[in-house]
Amino acid sequence: MEGEAGDFQITLIKKPKYIDEDQCTGCTACVEYCPVKYPDPFNQEISQNKAIHIYFAQAIPLVTYIDDSCLYLKEKKCGICEGICKNHAIDFNQRAEKIEVKVGAVILAPGLEPYDPGLRHDYGYGQFANVVTSLDYERLMCATGPYQGEILRASDRKHPHKIAWIQCVGSRQVIPGGNSYCSGVCCTYAQKQVILTKEHDAEAECTIFHNDIRSYNKDFERFYQRTESLPGVRFIRSYVSIGREIPASKNVTIRYSTPDDGVKEEEFGLVVLSVGLNPPADYTALADKFGIELNAHGFCQTNPVDPMEATRPGIFVSGAFRGPTDIPESVFSASAAGSECGELLNYRRGKLTQARIYPPEKDVAQEEPRIGVFVCHCGANIGRIVDVPATVEYALSLPHVAYAQEQLFSCATNSAKEISDMTREKGLNRVVIAACSPRTLEPLFRDTLREAGINQYYLDMANIREHNSWVHSKEREESTRKAQDLIRMSVARARHLEPLQEFDLPVNKAGLVVGGGLAGMTAALSLANQGHEVYLVEKESDLGGMARRLHSTLEGLDVQQYLIDVVGKIYRHPLVHVYTEAAILETGGYVGNFATKVKSRGRVMEIKHGATLLATGAEEYRPTEYLYGEDERVVTNLELEEQIAGRDERLVGARSLVMIQCVGCRNAERNYCSRVCCSHSIKNALNLKALNPQMDIYILFRDMRTYGYYEDYYREAAGKEVRFIRYEPTDPPEVEPAVGEEGLGVLRVTVTDPILGKRLEIDADVVALAAAVIPSAGSQEAARLFKVNSNPDGFFKEAHVKLRPVDFVADGIYLCGMAHYPKFITETLSQAYAAAGRALTLLSHDTVVASGSVCEVNERKCIGCGACISACSYGAIEFRETRQGKKAVVNPVICKGDGLCNAKCPTGAISLKHHTDEEILSQIDAAVQP
């Protein structure tokens, strides 16, 4: 890579696949005939694959490649695949290709490498057959895994009954070959594996050996409880070592100790090592190539206040290369990196796009249906089982079928052209393609219809591959009959298909950001830097939110200074309009076209905006426990931070300070972990130790949840003699005023130490409570106004935890920051950029396209019963008063086309277009042989 931000020249080497990707249809006939078997890398080399194969079932592009185990590549022998492939996609002459590209920015997303426990010969991995890594186990459980989803032991191919998980393998270990950080994801993935194991085999006995259980993420505490409550599941807090392999059974023993029983050795049928996350392979070479710096752990060095930015301008990172990361954060860091690139390259936005021109659409609505049927052989995939010529004959005998033909591969470019040519030539006005699943190719064939000049909704696909030839491959006659039945059903439906219009709605280019904390301000700036007008609404008189109460971070950021910078940027940016002391009175509209009434300092104005970002933050719980509010020596973590920043004399002079974790959460009332408090307490402890090294600091905790790099600070605190004492929620600490040894008033903290097995009394001058982070009142208000959802704990509910982590279900509304869940500043900033990135995908377009397949109401038939309204979770249906009473009306822009309303309507008044009752009933009728 050469050049600089905005103008990089990149040379890529594309290794040969020995497959012409444009020709390969992914039919995998070649795989079946390939004689070479070798250990399948995707399935952790547990099972075999062929020299020619698709890397994994959902690979993109879904084409095969030839591995170097191929006989032809090695010895010029074989070449069977070449003969099998009917589309001539095999190309043994392919050579590595050099490709030069010019780009303005680079996003590095090389992912991670699982920790390899074989390297240190720990845990018997590689020596004992029945010790596997969690990734091996993941593949074992998977339907596309080595044993089609059966969990089998390597030693005897039998189902293990007693399975142990060992946590923190390669993580939280300061030993050569280990990683000092916490990998952050293993506690929860191991719990997932336990739940899935119990689904495979309800009788399985599952044991998790762990240190702390770090369920610090949204909804993970409940997930942990769910796992723990399953019968036959044990969580044992203990360091462990692998004992031996029992020669006869090949079972493996684990030695561990519990406070009650001391050291024990127990036998397990299978041991799963919960391995941590390492930087990607070859990370130093990668860093050299791109001229970026790595951190001490080998992950990418990023900027704490611009967490997607590598050390070289123009290079961004997303995903686990930034450090151990779970899926939601990977996904939103990707959107965030996108937004950062957008800021850099905004001046060139849209310069490379080309509009596609289609021929004008012919109006055929008044014509009699003339249906064309195209039956695909899919090479041998369909043709070998289904009698395709006979099926074409059959199709021709069906009513309204004007034309039918067979095709070798309907999806090949020449075949698609053939479909559009024949449609025009034969005057067809409906097309049925009998081939594969519409999931993959429906968009392609819709495009084919547009090319043919007819409405794209005049298409139906009969799936005669996934639903037929592939799953009935030994029953030629039956599957030919089934193919004909499926085509008859498609033809019946095609008769009733209607032309539908996808309409373009103009997009208002402005964004509304609710909440002027770090999340809201960062998102607002990212939008504004990409040329969008932003209205930033804050209920307080000053911007800054929760960050106003923070002074430092563990990484050493001066939060107040940073805040001043950001607020300055906000006020200086010509496109950002700030409203403080503001309240939202009402809001309405839909994606691309919202209108919100805001009252600020006595003035009311209406803001029109295309996108809405909710960043309404969170609050600190006001404890009722541990004498808080009664004794001024009891403070919360945030108050303690204020006092540290102010060098409060009484605090700095304190001889002894006790911190109590999990105050107000991880309990029945707030069944979640506030995520930040463990690290927050450690930060305060380290800052106090710096001010007064003599101070005795105790942290009373349930699980220390210093995930990721925060683990290093936990270790540092322990090294500085901060004392950590674990307590059980059933036996919480007690705090009472007392008179200390020197006759001075103290707070006497009593706690049971489970390791020593006795009650300890600690005389403290100050008690700091790690008070829960709770949803803000503003979030609850916003949820009501904007009609968005919250989870049971009151935090905003994203549209999908993994797939759409910063979107709400309603289009055009996004979320970020602590209103989503407690998080650190760096995480908040990532998410803020992500929300801006998502909003940009909308705002950067002039129009949004609304699908044609939405619901509509026939008012004549509507009786105003409201069944449709309660079925619709998008709020797309409303009542409208008419002279004939109230009638339902659908906003097609909000409708997602699931048709729940259609199924509920008693009178057939509401109808999902493209999946109407008539269309589906005609298929049902045609399913039975006439």
Binding site: A143, T144, S473, S479, D898
Partner: protein, 250 residues
Amino acid sequence: MSGVSRLQYTTESRLIRVMCSGRVDLAFVFRAFLKGTDGVFIGGCRLNECNYDTHGNYHALNMVLLAKRIMEHIGLSPERLRVEFMSSGDGIRFAEVMSEFGRKVKELGPLGQGEGLDEGILKSKLAEITRLIPYIKMAKKEKLGSRLSNPERYADLFTRDEIDRLLREVTSYYIDPAKCQACMLCARRCPAEAIISVKNQIHVIDQEKCIKCGTCFEVCPDRFGAVKEISGVTVPPPIPEGERTVVRKK
């Protein structure tokens, strides 16, 4: 996934695509049986794993629980209808369920015959149920939209008694010729166009077309009160055409 993994199962199934299992209408199920389909299978996503937050699969579940009770009511084996929830990755399970269901339906025999029902009678019963679907949907509106988290409660959502009663005591609507003033309000509002309405002629409800939504009952002005809600008794025959002229009240 069963397709991609080439998992083999029996060949009887014919799949119809819907965008959400909650789109499957009660009417679809009975239409399939009416046409002689021997078994109906509905496949939805795993419960609580909706990617769109609509959880339409619960709607499908409720509909199936209701349909099974109706099937019992008319003497059809409820095992001819099955709903399963699985992800696209559950190929093995899909193939197993298809084969299992295929076997089950073969065991039950051809529709009606297996249950020892006369073909003609079964057809007329299915046709009657089809006619009553709007009424059933309206009567069970709340329950059809509910969300059952506990599988142990599935059996109680709709009880046998409840559905038997619902279908035994079907509500009908009838216009009292003595009270109708031919104001045409009901006819204008009837969603099924089931009211024979001629100016100055007493209105008559075509019982074959009526979907029993009760709109006529609601809109008939109180001062006339001509529309009657009746249940458990036969609807009086329509007044002969020649005698329909309205005698206006003075």
